[in-house]
Structure formats: structure tokens, C-alpha cells
């Protein structure tokens, strides 16, 4: 009897314990799932924040004004002005008089505020317009002009249009004019071509990414030109020719360690060796590309060796057995067969180099550069550094532009990764 009782008690205890164990099991599983959800949730928040911030930068507020190309205001001769005259003419004055005409009752002191509605860079399109068609001289045309950054922010709702609210940089008078312009249907948002066609600027509404894109292109070209031949040559040597001795081992250990050295240290190397020792130009994509090449080299070598290892030894034997020399074996068989793998690794290495920022700061690529670089020797920014520079700017309008710059950067990265994935899928070979 007693036995049965203890048995029942113990079976009850077992059941209870089992229940507890299963609860622990479920908790553990939920914990794992939660961790993944948290990580992905963060990714989602990050992307949503960037995209919601950045998408508004794709459009730009424009204001329509009736502009009179008055020879006197422009300061050019009324009949047949020379191209040089037109080039140097006072288009700002034309815009100012157009604004005064639109709001005739604004008095002298407030005019200054009025002029700020329109971007200080709005005169350039006017110049181009007139120079393309000098016949417009003396006529009045209706022109859409880039609005100032503060107006742009207010129109996009990034800052409040209620007077006196924090962050609102427009005065009551300016807000009133803006309302009036809206009533006249003279305010609209247009696609922001400036963002994709010009270089950097202190004025948010005139700042563009093209200079940085070109700079990134030059840098990555240098990186690729240096890194790919050297990386492949190193992989070939280590995988196919190198004897297994201490020297080879040293090289291998070195490559593995270089892959883990913080990138900022490579920046110090670039500063000390390339700039100060060899006297290369500061801020140049050439130097940036070289530094990035040193950073990407281990990635490419490791990928290249893995790809060559995957080529079965029987292929090598077959080639050698036919009397191919070792180098012929490599160039005719091993390299072509491992090329998809090498290229995939190279693209991923390049993608990484594209996003690299810190080492480029060291070699002076943070300078404020307006011009689009024409060669890898010209001072230039690159995309991630442009993000850094804009992120540092106090104007509210640069927040959306920074986000837009990030979107462009992520777009390029996504394309490169996609290319790598497709390459891998297309040429995947099972031996």
C-alpha cells in the first residue's frame, strides 16, 4: 500500500517536473525567436527611419515668379549683349525685383526676409535660360525657382508652420508670404534633380551627391585595379605554388590578421606612408583607393583561395598529365573554373570598401569640396564621407539629405550584393 502511494506521489512529481521542463523548453525557444525578432525589428526600424526621412529629399519646393529680364537691372547693354556680359550679369537683382513685384507692399527693412524665400543659387538657372535664348532680354517670363531650405522644410512639414514653435526658422512675415504664394498656386514640389547632379554646397537646397558618387567611383576603380591583380596573384601563389614552409605560413597568418585590423589603423598607415612619406595629394581618390585596396586585399585573397580550393585536384592532374606546365594549368583551368568565386568575393570586398568611412577621414577626404572631380588626383569626397559630413551639418534640411544620401549608398550596396548573389547562383558548380 505504502509503495503504491509513494509511486503515485512520485509519478505525480514526475508529471509536475515534466510540465516544468516543457515550460522551460518553450521559454528557451521563445527566447531564441525573440532574439531574432529583436535584431530584425531593429533592422526594420533603421530602414524605415532612413527611408521615411530620406524620401522627402527626392522632391524640392519650387516657387513661381514672374521674372523680367530687365537690361538695366542685369547691368548689360540692352541690345545684343555679349556672352561674357550675360555670364556676369546680376541675376540676383532680377530675382529680387521679381519678389518685390510679387509683394509690392513689403517695406525696405523686411525685403531682406522676403529675398530669403528663394534659394541663393536660383540665379544660375536664370542665367542658363537667358544665355540659351538671348531674345528673352526685356521680356517677362514665369519661372519656377528653387525655394530656400527653410521654406522647403516648412512646406514638407519637417518643421511646424505655426509661428513661434520650436525649430521654425521662418518669421511670421515669411510664413504669411508663403501662405499668399500658395493661394496664388505659385508653390509646388518638383523632383530634386540638384541632389543627383551637383557637388556639395553649404546651402542644403543646392547640395548634391554627384561629386561624391564620382569620387566613390574613382576610389573604387583604383581599389579594383590594385586589389584584383595582386589579390588573385597572391591566391594563385599561395594555393598553387607556395611550398609549405615557415615563410608561407607567415604570409598566411599575416593575411588573416590583416583581415581583422581595425580599418582606422589602415587610415593611419595611409596618412603616414602615402601622404607624408610619398607626398601624395590629400583628399584624392587615388590615395583613398590605395588605402581601401589594402583593406580589401585580405577579403579577396581569402575568397580567391577558397574558390581555387574548390577546383578538384583531378582537373589539375589531368592538365599536368597532358604536359601542361603548372602555369598553363593555372591559367587554362584553375583560374577560369574559380573565377566566379573570385569575382563574387571581389564584388563583396568592393561593396565593403564602398561603405568604408573612417580610414578616408584620416587621409583628408573630409574636406568641403564643391567641384565634381575630373580625375582620381582631384580632391573629392566619397559617398559615406558625404553622409558623415551632412550628418554633421546643423541645418534641418541636411537631415533629409543625409538620409537620401544613405538611400543612394544602400542602393549601390544592394546592387553589388545582388550581382554577387546572381553570379554565385549562375555559376554554382557541384563537383
Amino acid at each position: 500500500m505504502e509503495n503504491v502511494a509513494t509511486a503515485a506521489a512520485s509519478s505525480q512529481a514526475v508529471a509536475k517536473r515534466l510540465k516544468k521542463r516543457y515550460a522551460a523548453e518553450r521559454r528557451f525557444k521563445a527566447l531564441g525567436f525573440g532574439a531574432i525578432a529583436l535584431a530584425l525589428g531593429f533592422l526594420g526600424i533603421l530602414l524605415v527611419t532612413i527611408f521615411s526621412n530620406g524620401s522627402t529629399a527626392l522632391v524640392q519646393t519650387n516657387i513661381r515668379l514672374d521674372v523680367t529680364f530687365d537690361a538695366e537691372t542685369l547691368g548689360v547693354s540692352p541690345v545684343n549683349p555679349s556672352a561674357d556680359e550675360l555670364l556676369r550679369a546680376n541675376y540676383g537683382g532680377v530675382i529680387k525685383s521679381a519678389l518685390s513685384k510679387a509683394f509690392p507692399d513689403v517695406s525696405g527693412g523686411q525685403r531682406r526676409q522676403l529675398y530669403k524665400l528663394v534659394s541663393t543659387g536660383a540665379d544660375l538657372p536664370l542665367r542658363d535660360k537667358l544665355m540659351a535664348n538671348p531674345g528673352l532680354l526685356g521680356t517677362t517670363v514665369s519661372v519656377w525657382m528653387t525655394a530656400g531650405a527653410d521654406v522647403d522644410m516648412a512646406m514638407k512639414g519637417h518643421v511646424s508652420r505655426k509661428p513661434g514653435v520650436e525649430g521654425n526658422r521662418l518669421t511670421d512675415a515669411q510664413l504669411g508670404w508663403l501662405d499668399e504664394l500658395e493661394k496664388r498656386d505659385a508653390v509646388t514640389k518638383k523632383f530634386n534633380t540638384t541632389l543627383f547632379t551637383t557637388g556639395d554646397s553649404r546651402e542644403p537646397e543646392q547640395a548634391g551627391l554627384w561629386g561624391a558618387v564620382v569620387g566613390s567611383f574613382f576610389s573604387l576603380s583604383v581599389t579594383l585595379l590594385v586589389c584584383f591583380p595582386l589579390g588573385v596573384a597572391t591566391s594563385v601563389y599561395l594555393e598553387e605554388f607556395a611550398p609549405k614552409n615557415k615563410w608561407t605560413h607567415l604570409i598566411e597568418v599575416n593575411i588573416n590578421n590583416l583581415a581583422a585590423v581595425p580599418s582606422v589603423v589602415f587610415g593611419l598607415l595611409g596618412l603616414a606612408i602615402f601622404l607624408n612619406f610619398f607626398g601624395m595629394p590629400r583628399s584624392a581618390p587615388l590615395v583613398g583607393g590605395l588605402v581601401l585596396a589594402l583593406i580589401s586585399m585580405p577579403t579577396i585573397i581569402i575568397a580567391g583561395r577558397a574558390a581555387m580550393k574548390a577546383v578538384p585536384p583531378s582537373i589539375r592532374e589531368a592538365a599536368l598529365g597532358l604536359g601542361a606546365s603548372k602555369l598553363q594549368m593555372v591559367t587554362d583551368h584553375v583560374l577560369p573554373l574559380s573565377m566566379p568565386g573570385i569575382l563574387t568575393g571581389t564584388i563583396l570586398g568592393m561593396a565593403h570598401a564602398l561603405g568604408e568611412t573612417a580610414p578616408l577621414l584620416m587621409i583628408g577626404m573630409v574636406a568641403f569640396i564643391v567641384d565634381i572631380p575630373a580625375s582620381p588626383l582631384d580632391p573629392s569626397a566619397v559617398l559615406p564621407v558625404q553622409v558623415y559630413l551632412w550628418a554633421d551639418s546643423p541645418e534641418r534640411a541636411f537631415v533629409e539629405r543625409t538620409s537620401a544620401a544613405i538611400m543612394v549608398l544602400l542602393f549601390f550596396l544592394a546592387m553589388m550584393n545582388l550581382a554577387a548573389i546572381m553570379l554565385r547562383k549562375k555559376f554554382e558548380r557541384r563537383w
Binding site: 516543457y22 526600424i45 597572391t234 586585399m297 561603405g355 568611412t357 550628418a391 550584393n417
Partner: protein, 458 residues
């Protein structure tokens, strides 16, 4: 531009050499390639290499020597009174001469203008002579190689030997890079330690690297005690690891032990996306969104949170490192033999018990190795802390305050205008040396542990 032209001419000459070598080889074999030791194309490459390489070496040597030669020739032509000036002044003058000569700036004194003309003349003459020399060398070598071609010549062996030399040279690049890093860090750091003692640098608790612009300026002698930087780095990396290790490890466990293959094939690449996002993006996000969020939450709880709190930077850095921890742990967990799991299941253990009591302990060395690698990455991470952590060198363990890190200071000290030899810029190299040493040590230890672990189950 001139250089480009020279290179193109040389390239054309080389291509010409290739054709010449090929056709001569065929001619000596009276058109029958079987009579040749090597394929005709190898004879072509042979001549091309002879034609191109020596000339290329000459040009490269000149490029390396040109700045020094120019400097010497221009400086020795300066008027005597200028030559007697202090070295710094002379360096400035030479800089101006170069700018005037290259970019047409207006010279500040006539002597500079003359020197600039001299500079251009010398440069031009040197280039012409080198160009002619290189081309002459190329032609002579071409003729020499061309004459040596005959049917029995082992052109292939010679070409391949040259290529092999190139391969060996390429593989030494890694060594040169490491040597370059160590040398530049060491050299500049030694200069730094002439100004500041090693003890003060490593153990001092005051960090304010401002240096007096004038000798008599007060209150800005500069203090280079790096302890607050080390502490700040540890604090932020510690927060990052506290986020990344549990999340990464749990993700890896779920992925390798629980998740269906389909789930895995979707989620794993998504997690990898976290690793592919550039750090500057994380930095922007931390500064724009996370830091204000934490500050707002903190103030609603009645806490005072710095707007550039260590917590924000550490949190975002931790998220960035998650995929790193998870993919390393994933590899390690998958390497645990199935037989161990089956043993535990066979005893009636539940899945989570098996994982916690068998799989994880078995995988622990590998996981520790992975965590060390992740820590080294956190310590070396730059952009997030540059953008989201502060510059104030506070010595604190409070994650809600602003701290600064080694990498932040390296960037801050070197960005902007700088005189190269001031302790301020040199300090960056000393910090870089510390960073390099610590991360290298962490990596060596971690790789050692991971390799040991792999051997155990291979």
C-alpha cells in the same frame, strides 16, 4: 598626362615586341610550330617582357626619386639669403614654389617665382631625359631579346619564371602592409613619446590634447593621459557586447537547432544585411534617432541622460555586431557532432536541456573565440562612436553619461588642419598603436582558440 603618353607609347612598343617575337619564332622554325621548344606566343611574351619590364623599372625608380631630386635642385638654386633660413621656413617656401609652379598661384616674393620657373624647367628636362632613356632602353632590350630567339630557346620557361617572380612579389604585399602599419605607428609614436612620457600616456587620467598656439599661452599645455579613453572604449564595447552576445548567441541557437530550413534560408541573409550596412549609417542612426530616444526615456524617468550617451553608441554598436556573433556561433554549434546530441536525447533530455547542457558546453571554446573576435571588432569600430559618442574625456562608468573612445580621438585629432609634428597629431598614432596591439592580441588569441576547437571535432 605626359606620363600617360609615355606609358601608352611603351605599351605599344611592348605589343609590337610581342608580334615581332612571335613571327621571328615562327620564321626560325620555317612556319612549323612543332619544331619550336615553346609555342610562338611564348616567344612573343618573352620579347614583350624584355621590352617592357626594364623600362618600367626605370620609370618607377624615377617616379620614386623625382620629388627628392626636384627638391634638392630647386633649393640649391635659391638665393643665398633664402637658403640660410630655418628649416620650417624653407619647407614653407618650397611648398609655395610647388604651388606656384604647378597651379600658377601668384608668388609672394620674386625669388619664389624664379624658383618656380626653375622647378618647371628642371622637371621638364628630367622628364624628357627619363622618357627618352626609358624608350631607348625598351628598344635596346627589344632588339636584344629579338636576336636571342631561336627554335630551341626555352621561352616558356623564362616567361613563366618571370610570372612566378611576380606571384611571389604579390604575396609579400601582406607582409609589407603589416610592416608598413607597424613601422608608421611605431615611428610616429616614438616621436610622440619624446614629448609625453609613456607612463603619463598609459596611466594619466587627464586628456585634453589642446596645444598652445603660442608658447606663452596659458591653460592649454595639453594633457595626454589616455586612461579616460581606454575606460570609455571599454564601457561602450562592454555595452555593445552585452547586447550582441546574448542576442547573437540565442539567434544562432534558434537558427541551427530549432528553425525550419525555410525560415533559416530567409532569416539568415536578413541578419547578414545588418552586417552589410556601412557603419556611417549606424552612426547617423544612433545620433539622430537612438540617442534622443534614450534621452527622452531617461528624462521621463527622471534620469539625466547626456545627449551623446555611451548607452546609445554601445546599443547601436551591439546591434551591428549581432550577425558577427551569430554567424561565428552558428559555425561552432554546427561543428558539434550529432552523436553528442543523440546521446543526450537518448537519455530523455529535452531539446533545450540538450542545447544548454551538452551542445553549448561542447561549443564553449569556439563561442569564446567568436566573442573575442567580436570584441576586437567593437574596440576598433570607429564611425558609430565618432558620430554618436562625445568628445569629452570623462572618466566614468555611468552609461548615461558621455564618454569618448580611442578611435573617436584618433579621428578628431587628425581631421581638420594639422601640423604634422605636433604632439596632438602624433598622439593619434600612439593611440593607433595601442589599438593595433590590443586588437591584434585579441585576434591571435581568438583564432588560436577557434582553431584548437576545430581540430577537436575534425
Amino acid at each position: 598626362m605626359q606620363l600617360l603618353t609615355l606609358m601608352v607609347v611603351l605599351l605599344l612598343l611592348t605589343a609590337f615586341g610581342y608580334r615581332l617575337g612571335r613571327s621571328r619564332a615562327l620564321a626560325t622554325a620555317s612556319g612549323n610550330p612543332r619544331l619550336l621548344h615553346s609555342l610562338p606566343s611564348y616567344h612573343g611574351y618573352y620579347v614583350a617582357l624584355w621590352c617592357g619590364l626594364p623600362a618600367l623599372v626605370l620609370i618607377a625608380g624615377w617616379l620614386a626619386l623625382e620629388p627628392a631630386l626636384l627638391h634638392w635642385m630647386v633649393m640649391s638654386s635659391l638665393p643665398v639669403d633664402l637658403q640660410g633660413m630655418a628649416d620650417e621656413r624653407l619647407a614653407l617656401i618650397y611648398n609655395e614654389v610647388r604651388n606656384v609652379a604647378r597651379y600658377g598661384h601668384t608668388p609672394s616674393i620674386p625669388a619664389v617665382g624664379e624658383a618656380a620657373q626653375h622647378y618647371n624647367a628642371v622637371r621638364h628636362t628630367m622628364f624628357i631625359s627619363v622618357a627618352l632613356g626609358a624608350l631607348a632602353l625598351a628598344v635596346a632590350a627589344l632588339a636584344y631579346a629579338h636576336r636571342r630567339i631561336h627554335a630551341d630557346m626555352r621561352a616558356r620557361n623564362q616567361v613563366e619564371a618571370t610570372v612566378k617572380v611576380f606571384l611571389v612579389l604579390a604575396s609579400t604585399m601582406a607582409i609589407f602592409t603589416t610592416v608598413g602599419i607597424v613601422m608608421s605607428l611605431l615611428f610616429e609614436s616614438l616621436l610622440f613619446f619624446r614629448h609625453v612620457s609613456l607612463i603619463e600616456f598609459l596611466f594619466g587620467t587627464q586628456w585634453s590634447p589642446q596645444i598652445a598656439m603660442r608658447a606663452d599661452q596659458v591653460g592649454s599645455s595639453g594633457a595626454f593621459g589616455a586612461v579616460p579613453l581606454f575606460a570609455g572604449t571599454l564601457l561602450i564595447s562592454g555595452i555593445a557586447m552585452a547586447v550582441a552576445v546574448p542576442l547573437g548567441l540565442l539567434s544562432a541557437i534558434y537558427m541551427s537547432e530549432y528553425a525550419a530550413p525555410k525560415f533559416r534560408s530567409v532569416v539568415k541573409p536578413l541578419l547578414e544585411v545588418l552586417a552589410g550596412i556601412p557603419t556611417v549609417v549606424y552612426g547617423f542612426f544612433a545620433a539622430l534617432t537612438v540617442a534622443p530616444f534614450i534621452r527622452d526615456v531617461g528624462s521621463s524617468l527622471g534620469l539625466s541622460v547626456a545627449s551623446e550617451s555611451a548607452l546609445a553608441a554601445g546599443l547601436v554598436m551591439g546591434i551591428m555586431i549581432i550577425p558577427f556573433v551569430s554567424s561565428l556561433s552558428d559555425d561552432v554549434i554546427n561543428a558539434v557532432p550529432q552523436s553528442l546530441r543523440e546521446g543526450a536525447f537518448g537519455l530523455g533530455a529535452t531539446k533545450s536541456e540538450t542545447i544548454r547542457q551538452v551542445v553549448i558546453p561542447a561549443a564553449l571554446p569556439g563561442i569564446i573565440g567568436g566573442v573575442l573576435l567580436a570584441a576586437s571588432r567593437a574596440i576598433g569600430e570607429t564611425m558609430i562612436v565618432v558620430m554618436a559618442a562625445g568628445l569629452a574625456a570623462n572618466l566614468t562608468a555611468n552609461p548615461l553619461e558621455a564618454v569618448t573612445t580611442v578611435t573617436t580621438q584618433i579621428v578628431t585629432l587628425l581631421v581638420g588642419d594639422q601640423e604634422f609634428d605636433s604632439p596632438k597629431t602624433l598622439a593619434a598614432f600612439a593611440l593607433g598603436l595601442v589599438l593595433f596591439t590590443v586588437t591584434l592580441a585579441l585576434n591571435v588569441v581568438a583564432l588560436h582558440i577557434v582553431n584548437k576547437y576545430r581540430e577537436k571535432y575534425d
